[in-house]
């Protein structure tokens, strides 16, 4: 692989490139098959290692032992209530740490969902046949999903907009099937993912566009469905496609 970009592909899939470099590399991937294949391989390898590496679980007994080792005495003697009254500062500290931890966990969970979706987006575009149903006509694409996924959805009329529909394919997020639609805006591809909203891990996702690496992601729920729009275009473009989808759904 003699391509000048090849040395940056690892950092790219690890999300370690600056956003300008990342955008440039994303554009390059659309043109260079060898880099795209390599990047796809890396993404797959990252996923396999993540799955295979979560292997060992500590026993409950050992957990108890560690808790005992590090647990503060206050907790164990069970009479910590009055101390919280006496030392409100301690409560504030604990609360702030707990809230911090919670926020971090939520953030981590959100990051995982977004990371999986951007991986899907990149992997799909890098593959030889990104879509299984190729059509610019929403009336062809929508019925194609019938019987393949357990729900139905509406797609917007794009006449008079800069967006065009490329096609769609069935995809999976956290083991649940959904629709992956690809739209084109100028030279950019944008992925739209639609899943059933199960009110679980995705409930706290942002409804305004957020930037993740060089990608912008927007997500919302409507009529029991959870939508994600992912692409390397600007927040404004993501927002206008989202609005079209919202109005149609």
């Amino acid at each position: 692989m003699a391509c000048e970009w090849s040395a940056k592909l690892d950092a790219y899939v690890d999300g370690e490139l600056s956003s300008s470099e990342s955008t440039a590399l994303a554009a390059h991937l659309r043109e260079c098959t060898s880099c795209a294949t390599y990047a796809l391989g890396l993404v797959q390898m990252k996923r396999s290692i993540a799955a295979a590496g979560k292997r060992y679980q500590p026993g409950a007994e050992f957990r108890g032992k560690i808790q005992k080792t590090i647990g503060s005495k206050r907790r164990r003697d069970g009479s910590w209530y009055w101390k919280i009254v006496a030392i409100p500062a301690a409560l504030v500290l604990i609360l702030s740490v707990t809230v911090n931890l919670y926020v971090n966990r939520e953030k981590a969970r959100r990051e995982r969902v977004y990371s999986e979706l951007t991986d899907l987006h990149v992997a799909t575009l890098a593959s030889g046949s990104p879509v299984d149903v190729v059509s610019t006509d929403r009336h062809t694409v929508k019925p194609w999903f019938q019987g393949k996924i357990p729900f139905s959805f509406n797609l917007p009329e794009l006449q008079g907009t800069d967006f065009s529909l490329v096609g769609g394919r069935v995809t999976y997020l956290a083991q649940s099937p959904g629709a992956h639609l690809i739209y084109r805006l100028r030279q950019h591809e944008i992925s739209v993912f639609i899943f059933q909203d199960r009110g679980d891990g995705t409930a706290a996702l942002a409804s305004t566009p957020i930037s993740r690496l060089s990608f912008t992601v927007e997500s919302w729920t409507k009529n029991g469905l959870r939508y994600f729009v992912v692409g390397d275009v600007g927040a404004q473009d993501i927002e206008s496609l989202s609005k079209l989808l919202r109005d149609a759904g």
Partner: protein, 179 residues
């Protein structure tokens, strides 16, 4: 996980350190390749960390700090001393074949194959892959855990992936030949 700039207490330590318990155990087991030894490592890590917590620098990464203590504990353990007799300079020169990207192969390699591959990798390669993919640490965090420069993180990660890929190629050929 940045620690807020406030006075730290035993309760704070518990709140910060306990959520890392399962991750630390998984990492310890991967390093030691033995359940009892992994428990010893985790136990010792928590004891050391609790003892050193007052000296923990505010504003630095707590998770990286805990993982660094665990790793250093492992390196000075009997298994650790046996498994990493190579210096950092030597690690950078461990040969790893560079096969063509075998995306189909990775796709078809099952989880067990990847697990075996990870187990067979030298510790420096195994640990960096786990920190990057399982713990989802940034290069900066990994650099803190391994106490190496970010540039070395990048080159070692690259070599580790290549090494795993060539191990999987061998395994895959073995399966195809019915070995």
């Amino acid at each position: 996980m940045e620690v807020p700039d406030q006075r730290l207490s035993a309760a704070t330590f518990e709140e910060l350190a306990l959520p890392l318990f399962e991750q630390l155990y998984n990492f310890a087991h991967w390093l030691a390749q033995d359940a009892a030894e992994a428990e010893d490592l985790v136990q010792e890590t928590y004891v050391k960390a609790l003892r050193g917590f007052s000296g923990f620098q505010l504003g630095t990464n707590f998770r990286a700090w805990m993982f660094r203590i665990l790793r250093n504990t492992f390196l000075t353990s009997r298994t650790g001393l046996k498994s990493t007799v190579v210096s950092d300079e030597e690690i950078e020169t461990i040969p790893s074949a560079a096969p063509n990207p075998e995306t189909v192969l990775i796709e078809r390699a099952n989880r067990e194959m990847v697990r075996q591959g990870l187990t067979e990798l030298p510790v420096p390669f195994r640990e960096i892959l786990l920190l990057c993919e399982v713990e989802e640490m940034s290069y900066e965090e990994i650099a803190q855990v391994l106490t190496i420069p970010v540039g070395t993180v990048m080159s070692r990660l690259f070599r580790a992936r290549r090494a795993l890929r060539s191990l999987l190629v061998e395994k895959f050929k073995g399966v195809q030949n019915g070995v």
